[in-house]
């Protein structure tokens, strides 16, 4: 049980940090922020890698494989599309002033 309690501590503390980090973000950035946070939720790719890399069960490996594909779409697509958005915010900053 102590492992679970420890994990819960971490979960709750991280949630508070999350609230603090986001509460002051200007509306201009809400869309990229959402898409960036979305990409970070693809961190589950690490779990997928752990499942797919173990050989105790072929079925679990296949499930892990699907999980990797899903998570990688989320991660790669999410970070790239966010970068595309934020790139546009950057460049016109100079050209117009």
């Amino acid at each position: 049980m102590s492992g679970l309690i420890f994990n819960l501590f971490i979960f709750v503390l991280a949630s508070f940090i999350g609230f603090e980090l986001i509460s002051k973000v200007p509306p201009t950035l809400h869309t990229p922020l959402m898409s960036g946070a979305n990409a970070i939720s693809g961190i589950t790719i690490i779990g997928a890698v752990v499942v797919a890399g173990q050989v105790d069960s072929q079925v679990a490996q296949l499930i892990g494989f699907c999980a990797i594909v899903f998570a990688t779409i989320n991660v790669v697509g999410g970070f790239m599309v966010t970068d595309r958005m934020l790139e546009m915010f950057k460049k016109k900053d100079r050209s117009n002033e």
């Binding site: 492992g3 971490i10 979960f11 991280a14 949630s15 999350g18 609230f19 980090l21 986001i22 509460s23 200007p26 201009t28 950035l29 809400h30 869309t31 990229p32 922020l33 959402m34 898409s35 960036g36 946070a37 979305n38 990409a39 970070i40 939720s41 693809g42 961190i43 589950t44 790719i45 690490i46 779990g47 997928a48 890698v49 752990v50 499942v51 890399g53 173990q54 079925v59 679990a60 490996q61 892990g64 494989f65 999980a67 990797i68 594909v69 899903f70 990688t72 779409i73 989320n74 991660v75 697509g77 999410g78 970070f79 790239m80 599309v81 970068d83 958005m85 546009m88 460049k91 117009n96």
Partner: protein
């Protein structure tokens, strides 16, 4: 991979991995922090991506991992699909894209839990482990199917109107409770495949049933909420495989998603419960979802020449863009018009409602695409006091966010929603294709005001005409 390393390093490898996870966690936090300001946002996003890469690479050294074929194949396939989609997507389609990526993230978390369940003999699970597996399956699967329904609604594959059936809320609440109860059951009887499958099935159905009744206008809130769920699902997956990096990053995203959801609800004066259970927008009987049929009210139509003259001789013009502008890809022409006005000495500002577009802040992204400098963009709170001193407001492809019914008509579905107070300006000019209602499906009283003129047509064509007319002045 770990067997290639010297035994001395292998012995301390688990600690090294944990320390690197700690570094990755720090990078995520700094990254999200930097996403909060326009100047640092891009580097913040890149930092977060770097954190992810570091976490992923060090995980490959995990001693439990001994087979790499599936890992490499999965990463190659997923990267190709993700990169292709991210490169191809139109900026106007960003909400759909976020929704579908979300769905994949949630789905992946459910699969991780399922994989762990398959891999381990049931009698080896402690009760709390099986509970986290059950919750992970529940949240991940709801995110998965819910996101796909949201995607379908935004794309128009599924009607944007709320789809409801009698006693829907009660039914949804009922099967949610059944799902949670079955998770409880599974902790006592981990070997029961049947219970496991029923939980999986319920979660998949629940995702569909909770998003179907939500109207198109509320879709941004739903996507943000699902985003939060996908973070929670990742966090739950972290509980399942006992991985702190997953627990922390998932919790960060979960909390961030909730905050954004809350901000959006405030911008539309709605509560979360209202969004989830209210079935708002479209076919609300009293609001009249069809084209405006009130024949006794008249509107004043105007022409490009007339608009050009009014704007060119104004001191101050405010532009309030909406999704119609984006769909017509008229941002660039708009910029041209604004440049011409500024040359004539007119002060021009953009007033952006927080939910203009299809996602909060979506309009800012779309205008950024057209090289509009972001110091010309004003949030609703900043611009609202200025309308009293504004000569002309150009409302381009926006509707619900300027609808005075939000202030005056009790009982209107948008009553109480903060809007851009364009009716306080001397003159408003609405660029619109017809008098039909917008996304929320309600008529707009502004169109019939004495101080309002309608400039009918496609946003791009009318703006081109206006630009031409300004040159001819």
């Amino acid at each position: 991979m770990s067997e290639f390393l010297p035994s001395g390093i292998q012995a301390i490898l688990p600690d090294i991995i944990q320390l690197v996870y700690l570094v990755a966690t720090g990078i995520f936090i700094v990254g999200i922090k930097r996403l909060g300001s326009p100047d640092t946002a891009r580097s913040g996003n890149q930092l977060a991506a770097l954190g992810m890469l570091i976490g992923l690479v060090v995980t490959l050294f995990d001693q439990q991992i001994i087979s790499y074929e599936y890992i490499i194949a999965g990463i190659v396939i997923g990267s190709a699909i993700g990169a292709f989609a991210a490169k191809k997507v139109e900026m106007t389609a960003m909400p759909e894209m976020v929704a579908i990526f979300n769905g994949f993230g949630g789905g992946a978390s459910a699969l991780v839990a399922w994989g762990e369940f398959r891999r381990t003999a049931p009698e080896l699970f402690a009760g709390q482990e099986i509970a986290t597996i059950g919750l992970s399956i529940l949240i991940g699967s709801i995110t998965f199917t819910g996101s796909f329904v949201a995607f379908g609604k935004l794309k128009g594959f599924i009607s944007g109107n709320p789809i409801t059936f009698p006693a829907q809320n009660i039914f949804n609440a009922f099967i949610t409770i059944v799902g949670l109860a079955l998770v409880g059951w599974l902790t006592f009887d981990p070997a029961s495949q049947l219970v496991f499958w029923i939980i999986f099935g319920i979660a998949l159905v629940l995702g569909v049933l909770t998003v179907l009744p939500i109207g198109g206008a509320d879709m941004p809130v739903v996507i943000s909420l699902l985003n939060s769920y996908s973070g929670l699902a990742a966090s739950m997956a972290g509980f399942v495989i006992n991985n702190n990096l997953l627990i922390i990053s998932g919790a960060l995203v979960g909390a961030a998603g909730l905050i954004l959801t809350n901000i959006m609800c405030k911008a539309m004066n709605r509560t979360l419960g209202n969004v989830l259970f209210g079935a708002f927008g479209g076919d609300n009987g009293d609001s009249g979802s069809g084209p405006a049929a009130d024949t006794d009210k008249t509107v004043h139509e105007t022409t490009a020449q007339d608009v050009a003259i009014q704007c060119a001789y104004a001191d101050k013009v405010v532009i309030t863009p909406g999704y119609g502008l984006a769909v017509a890809q008229a941002q660039h022409v708009l910029k041209e018009v604004v440049d011409k006005l500024e040359k004539k000495g007119v002060e021009v500002k953009y007033g952006i409602h927080p939910v203009a577009g299809r996602m909060p802040g979506h309009m800012n992204v779309l205008l950024a695409e057209a090289d509009v400098p972001y110091d010309q963009l004003y949030d609703m709170e900043q611009i609202n006091p200025e309308f009293k001193s504004t000569d002309v407001v150009l409302i381009i492809g926006a509707n619900d966010v300027v609808n005075p019914a939000a202030k005056t008509t009790q009982g209107s579905p948008i009553y109480g929603m903060p809007i851009l107070n364009v009716d306080e300006a001397e003159r408003t000019i609405v660029f619109k294709r017809s008098l039909s209602p917008g996304f929320a499906g309600i008529d707009n009283a502004l169109f019939y005001e004495e101080s309002n003129q309608m400039f009918f047509g496609d946003a791009k064509e009318t703006l081109q005409d206006l630009s031409q007319a300004l040159s001819n002045l």
